[in-house]
């Protein structure tokens, strides 16, 4: 098991190295000269040249890359052109908000999606199964941003239950924060919830068809016991891997949800920075997001190994 964890850790390091390469190369093809953008159109060529020198833009690409990676490891992601601040600081300010709503969404998606999938599998072919299937199908097809628009129209504008937009830290005003966060979290969670329900259902059905379920029946166990003790423990393994994929999708969807609900998180920061041509920030954000996704996947793989005794015990 320890060897398994260390091997996955090494793989993650390699993946992160490749992510840094991708992110760095994207910056290279971005339009415009960062030095020129920084100084504005009135600056003289000499000034631009001086800034280029300061920023290290005159050095060879490999040198630039290693400098950037080296600084990133030290926690220095460069300076924002638009905010005139350290990128690390800006991200540090935006990241917690995104993490907060993402975790809430993930929890919501799992605690509703997985049981829904189990119920659908048990009542296979019945009315509840059809209903869950229909909801899941739409869940996977509804764009998060459109769902957000619908929610705002119905619950904020028509019913007035929740504020239209905005974000308050739960430590500041818990009640307001919760009111503000309910709709974004539901919109973020919906697609993931649908995936969990579908995956759980098919994993359950797959396991129900296995020989060992028949063995369990032949021992005279009750259907309920078989589902809880035998089927679920096996079916949960593929569902765990889905968590990794959904982390990625939920974090990705924050780009829309934060935009619509005006939440100052990472997603909105990325979009804003793109429009500001503030690519150092974009670069930093993408790197941080990728690291978070890669690390969650690492954790998920380890728990996957833990849930499956065939991996845990050789």
């Amino acid at each position: 098991m320890i060897a398994f964890i260390i091997r996955r850790l090494l793989q993650t390091v390699i993946v992160l190295f490749m992510v840094s390469l991708i992110v760095f190369s994207i910056l290279q093809v971005l339009p415009g000269d960062p030095a020129r953008t920084l100084l504005g159109p009135e600056a003289s060529p000499e000034q631009v040249e001086q800034i280029r020198e300061e920023l290290g833009l005159n050095r060879s690409l490999p040198v630039q890359y290693f400098t950037w990676v080296g600084n990133a490891i030290k926690g220095d992601l460069g300076k924002s052109i638009a905010f005139r601040e350290d990128v690390t600081g800006i991200i540090g300010e935006h990241l917690p908000k995104t993490i907060y709503i993402s975790i809430l969404s993930m929890v919501l998606a799992i605690i509703i999606g997985v049981p829904a999938g189990i119920i659908a599998a048990i009542k296979r072919g019945g009315k509840i199964d059809s209903l869950i299937s229909v909801i899941a199908n739409f869940g996977m097809a509804v764009p998060a941003f459109w769902l957000a628009v619908l929610c705002i129209y119905l619950f904020s504008l028509k019913l007035g239950w929740f504020p239209v937009q905005g974000y308050t830290s739960p430590f500041e005003d818990f009640w307001l924060s919760t009111q503000q966060v309910i709709m974004p979290v539901i919109c973020l969670a919906f697609a993931a919830l649908a995936s969990f329900a579908r995956q759980t259902r098919s994993a359950m059905l797959e396991v129900i068809m296995q020989d060992f379920t028949r063995t369990a029946r032949s021992k005279g166990l009750k259907e309920g016991t078989i589902i809880i003790k035998h089927t679920l423990k096996n079916a949960i393994i593929p569902v765990i891997t889905l968590v990794g994929l959904q982390v990625r999708n939920i974090v990705g969807s924050t780009i829309f949800i934060e935009q619509v609900f005006n939440i100052p998180g990472m997603g909105r920061l990325v979009v804003q920075s793109i429009f500001n041509q503030d690519f150092v920030v974009v670069q930093g954000c993408v790197l941080v997001i990728a690291i978070i996704v890669a690390l969650t996947n690492l954790l998920i793989d380890i728990s996957y190994g833990y849930a499956d005794p065939r991996i845990r015990i050789k």
Binding site: L30, P143, W146, I255, A294
Partner: protein, 299 residues
């Protein structure tokens, strides 16, 4: 010896079996009404995209300042937008972008992904490790963020959106393909090929690839929906199809500003996205059940 008896054995039954396999496919595939309805939606979308000028009641670009933000009416079933353009006509024209993005980006993704996955799985070793870690790296960046950054780097517009979405979908195909290849590679029939002295290239193209077709068809169908969703997302953020060209995502965003007075401006294009994506998902699921019942739940 027993040649004659075996030769005549159950010839009739074999014939029956052959036709019933094709029949079985269509029976399972078309078993549910939702699937037929989904196929109809997809067909309508394709017709809309191809014959948009014939179907659309108005010119989608024509601004009519006498009709700004008008309520739904017989002439304008979904009303008109800020500059008096007919929303229904714009939705019909919007299907062109959606369909084109869906087809071409999925084509790009599948071709590159299939080739990478095929080599990765069949050749193995260092090539496999490098390709798969690169795919992991691409997968670590959420696809929509990857797409946003790509579009920021290369600029918006139809072509770039297509290329961007195509690239961000590559890892899915590479991984699926690699998994399939690894399974098929172990089959005795590939061992048989190797023992005959057949070349790797021949084995990959003639024997491995054809056996991966079923799950690929399913994934491709499901991904049409994914690509259409992503295109709508990019256009919603203003990073996709460049206005004034009609795109469902940007229409949702445009309408969002008038949500209280004219909610239909956002609702109608959103409905179009949902209907089409649901249709592709349902058809994809039905194909999976019909092509290979064993695939249930593997995608």
């Amino acid at each position: 010896m027993t040649t004659e008896i075996i030769a005549s054995e159950r010839v009739v039954e074999q014939e029956v079996k052959k036709t019933s396999n094709t029949l079985r496919f269509f029976r399972v595939f078309l078993a549910r009404k939702t699937v037929v309805a989904s196929l109809a939606i997809i067909l309508i979308m394709i017709i809309c995209a191809i014959f948009a000028p014939l179907i659309a009641p108005f010119d989608p670009y024509k601004q009519d300042y006498s009709q700004i933000l008008s309520e739904p009416s017989l002439a304008h079933p979904f009303g008109t937008d800020l500059v008096g353009r007919d929303v229904l006509s714009r939705i019909i024209y919007g299907s062109q972008a959606a369909l084109l993005v869906g087809i071409v980006s999925v084509a790009i993704a599948s071709v590159i992904g299939i080739i990478l996955g095929l080599f990765s799985g069949y050749v193995g070793g260092l090539i496999d490790a490098i390709i798969m870690r690169a795919m992991d790296a691409l997968m670590a960046i959420p696809p929509i963020i990857l797409a946003v950054v790509f579009v920021a780097a290369f600029g918006g517009g139809l072509t770039n959106v297509i290329i961007t979405l195509g690239l961000s979908l590559v890892p899915t195909y590479a991984r699926l393909m690699r998994g399939q290849v690894l399974a098929i590679r172990e089959s005795d029939f590939i061992v048989a090929q190797e023992l005959m002295g057949s070349t790797n290239l021949r084995n990959m193209i003639k024997h491995v690839l054809p056996n991966c077709i079923s799950p690929l068809i399913v994934l491709i169908t499901l991904n049409f929906g994914v690509a259409i969703l992503a295109e709508a997302g990019l256009s919603f953020l203003g990073l996709g199809i460049v206005p004034p060209k009609a795109a469902w995502g940007s229409m949702i965003n445009d309408g969002y500003k008038y949500l209280l007075s004219n909610p239909i401006l956002s609702f109608a294009p959103g409905m179009a996205v949902v209907l089409v994506v649901v249709a592709f998902n349902i058809v994809g699921d039905a194909l999976r059940d019909a092509l290979d019942p064993r695939l249930k739940g593997t995608l």
